[in-house]
Symmetry: C2
Subunit: 136 residues, 2 copies
DNA sequence: CTAGAAGTTAAAGTCAGCTTTAAGTCATGC
DNA sequence: GCATGACTTAAAGCTGACTTTAACTTCTAG
């Protein structure tokens, strides 16, 4: 499979696939006359990578756990550690978003004369500090 | 108030405050010998800006609704429109995060031989497409 | 008066995850 | 045998919200 076909099948840009190879999340495949030729299972590899990035893993994290992953190695402790850490992050993100949602709703339904007042009415220092804990 | 004190009080970096001025979310204050002197209510202004960015508004959006905001103008329709739009985004973010959470938990508790299998077992094409709708 | 802290500017750097560009080489169909 | 499309590389560009740097000026305490 040439890079164009892999790109079409994974719905990625060919440049993205080259980028993955460059930063080491995808292993460089065989070349024929300088061009990349991918084995069929590269498709699954790329999907796994996209899947993981969609789950919020960074490419650096993905590289980390893929590097220890033999072809059909069992789901290892390294992955579990990463997944647990990510789960925590996701939970924090949910909590933050719920807080934002209620704040937004309050602001939308309030009858303050100005936004400034409105924000002050929420008790700026407390609320701001609450939010700051969630800063990314 | 000089920029250093404003920075200390808002817990921002002075460079951030200058940056806000440069991109036009903060109005340039009086100068004394070339140095910025802020009136007391600049503190509230900066808090409002931080508050808004914490809520997920971009600085461009904040500039937009601050520019139409006279000193004590009522909470206007422009702000309401922006807030409603942001509320939608937050809801989508929550839905996405909840989906990610359950996927992560499934992956953590599964007994598949390999991650590849595990992802395939989730029904890659469907699940991946589901996630793609949430891609940012 | 002077050291040093704090202020000033424009421009470049940072992070992630790519895309775009430029300048070429290879493969394929007619 | 050649036009065209697909491929190659390294390097630069993009977004957003800043920070850092360099080279300077101004303020303040002793």
């Amino acid at each position: 499979m040439k890079i164009g076909e892999l790109a079409r099948r994974t719905k990625l840009n060919a440049s993205a696939i080259r980028y993955y190879e460059k930063i080491g999340v995808l292993v460089a495949p065989q070349r024929v006359g300088g061009q990349r030729r991918y084995p069929t299972d590269s498709f699954d590899r790329v999907l796994l990578i996209r899947f993981a990035t969609d789950m919020g893993f960074t490419l650096a994290e993905i590289k980390l756990f893929l590097s220890g992953l033999r072809d059909n190695a069992p789901v290892g402790p390294r992955w579990k550690r990463l997944a647990n850490r990510k789960l925590l992050e996701v939970d924090q993100n949910i909590a933050r978003s719920l807080k934002l949602k209620s704040l937004l709703q309050n602001l939308l339904h309030c009858r303050c004369a100005s936004l400034q007042q409105c924000v002050r009415a929420l008790g700026p220092s407390e609320n701001l500090r609450l939010l700051q804990n969630f800063r990314r």
